[in-house]
Symmetry: C2
Subunit: 411 residues, 2 copies
């Protein structure tokens, strides 16, 4: 047979989904699996979005404009204005989720062999888009003892080479939940301008900011008109992951025209998803207030619960709905699989994503896991108890996690 491509061999399997067969086997044995492995919220999609779908008044489900419906893009521009981001509908391309926006961005901006600096741990699928575009990910290390704050400017500059072409951030962050301060973003702005780099900002968790913190967008930073690319998605905002509607946004006209050619090649983003997303723009503020209140409670239950387990370290994030915890274990891949294959507590077990997939070098995440607090509070309490018992029973337990627990409280 003809050979598979190098890219195909290099493409990593999803660390979020790779344990799915073990979860399916556990369910077949009658074990209830608490899914904290994936950012699939149980929050209801806004009624206004579902109603638009249920009242569909079309006879032919046609292509839309390759950049998406103009009416939706105009509505989105208004939405951004409400968040302090000034863009026009002609600076927005609607995409098949944030994923396609990232792919368009990487394909449009980077040559094969170019380097993109990404604070790690980072969203695992960034590796996949980098492989697709032939781009090299250069990680800049964030550590659990600072709660995964942005590294110092010197750490970035030490990594910059003639091939460095961009920086990619996720804010608030998946997997850490870290929310960048304005000062941190100004640091990034300075690096980007000094070295003439693209700045990709994945801001799909914009609405999920806690404890009174305000989100600052990369598009609010002055002087980055030619450099900043905003990656967005309705998936989490409206708990509508399956709509597959995202956005690629830039004020750089040449880059916009380039990305639009990639958009034309795949004809159009999904019509049904756009109808739901345009309607979702009318979601009342009370929906977000309720969701935020719920996530804060969930976060506190999960993170406080984790930190109450001997040897576990978990900074409390200010955004998104993930956290990264360090566990007293030998190997997070082995532990997560063991939970599904060999552990049951009161009929339940927990599925998590090993953090090995969120680091450029898997060793860095060997004792860490990512947890998504996307389930209701009772399930999260149960998950914490499962983990408490599991860590006591796990044969590969190590004495203590490598980070000192005393640093956790204030992170």
């Amino acid at each position: 047979m003809p050979a598979i491509s190098t890219k195909g061999r290099l493409m990593p399997p999803s660390p979020i989904r790779k344990l799915v067969p073990f979860a399916e086997a556990a369910k077949k044995r009658g074990t209830q699996v608490i899914h904290l492995n994936i950012g699939q919220p149980d929050i209801a999609t806004p009624e206004v979005a579902l109603d638009a779908i249920r009242h569909l008044d079309r006879d032919v489900i046609e292509y839309s404009h390759s950049a998406g419906y103009e009416s939706y893009r105009k509505g989105l521009a208004d939405y951004y204005a409400g968040h302090g981001i000034r863009v026009t509908h002609e600076q927005i391309i609607i995409t098949n989720g944030g994923s396609e926006a990232l792919l368009f961005g990487m394909m449009s901006c980077f040559e094969p062999g170019d380097e993109v600096i990404i604070p790690e741990p980072y969203y695992a699928n960034y590796n996949s888009f980098a492989v697709s575009a032939g781009v090299t990910v250069v990680p800049v290390r964030c550590t659990i003892d600072t709660g995964f704050a942005l590294p110092a400017i010197a750490d970035f500059e030490a990594l910059i080479t003639p091939r460095t072409k961009g920086i990619l951030i996720c804010n608030p962050g998946n997997p850490t939940g870290y929310l960048y301060s304005r000062a941190e973003l100004e640091t990034l702005r300075a690096i980007v301008l000094k070295h003439d780099l693209f700045l990709f900002a994945d801001e799909v968790y914009r609405e999920f900011c806690y404890d009174g913190a305000r989100h600052v967008s990369a598009l609010e930073l002055d002087g980055l008109e030619q450099h900043a690319v905003l990656i967005d998605s309705v998936s989490k905002r409206y708990s509508m992951c399956g709509a597959r509607v995202g956005a690629f946004i830039t004020r750089n006209a040449e880059l916009y025209a380039t990305a639009l050619k990639f958009a034309q090649a795949r004809l159009s983003p999904p019509t049904f998803g756009q109808i739901a997303s345009e309607a979702a723009l009318r979601t009342p503020q009370s929906y977000f207030d309720d969701v935020t209140r719920e996530y804060v409670q969930r976060r506190d239950i999960l993170v406080d619960g984790l930190n109450s387990i001997a040897g576990v370290t978990c900074p409390k994030p200010k955004g998104a709905f993930y956290c990264v915890a360090e566990l007293p274990i030998d190997d997070s891949d082995t532990f997560c699989q063991w939970l599904l294959e060999h552990f049951v507590h009161d009929g339940h077990t927990v599925m998590m994503a090993p953090a090995t997939g969120f680091y450029a070098n898997p060793e860095s995440g060997r004792k860490q896991v990512r947890l998504a607090y996307v389930l209701e509070q009772g399930q999260l309490r149960l998950a914490v108890e499962c983990l408490r018992h599991a860590l006591a029973a796990y044969p590969g337990r190590s004495a203590v996690a490598s980070a000192p627990q005393a640093l956790v409280g204030g992170a």
Copy 2:
């Protein structure tokens, strides 16, 4: 500002959509534009698909499996069985339209610099996916005087180099409407096996076969288990282009596992579109019978009408809903733009796709256009009359088309 990538610069603009601004200007002047430029049918989407959307009974629009809903894939496997194609649901990945299936295939099978042979004229966006994957398209020329039949085996073999890794066909063909015979497919099979190549078969127009002709799938050919990839889509079958639901299908387990990693990277295909597509599997045969009858009538009106214009050559295709016509003109890009900018007949003009974008070398399509007969019969008659008057008035008219008209009738 940082520079745009080489791929971004090489990516061609859509020849099907590049004249859109001129069409919009014509409409603003009050001219009715008859859109034969794009394969967007006016045929109604099956009620059974729209009903499934209108009766949506979900509270959360979740991700699906990265390969698509299992129930939909099982239903699709039954659909294929009904077309003589034996595949299981574990050989199917649901994609964001046929476009994404092609991208997954190219990324999984080909190295940058590998060569893929494509009979030309070919669907323009194949160039775009090739640019994305860094693949070189090597055209093998089909000519209008044979009605765009498959070239001789010697023509293929003359093009094969150590970098040749695959052959891509569209059957029935966009833009020519050509339907490959079983003998032609057996020819391809022999080349593929002899040179150990992948065979990509874009069969999204499977249902659109006329004059009693039967479609033969690449997956019906013996011995190609490791070589054949089927690219499919619901867009045309159910007049549901905006659903963005396609499929990547192969019996090659290693290739399937590789493509699935690309699918995992973008999380899932669209949920709404899959719901509509799964329901559409219950579309009654009478729908297809009615649609086929309608397209045959449309084809005959358009193709016979075109051939009745002095100097115009248009083979009558046996499949899909496109045709390529050779016109007595200097330049199809200029002519198509002129139609939108400077021509009106009884308040109407015609929008077509210049064939320059459907050839590796634009010169080959300089006198040709692609027309999609996706509008109702009255509009097609009007389009023919518009073209008759336009060709008489066009300043860049040449004496005769380059192909002798006598050859047209039997094509």
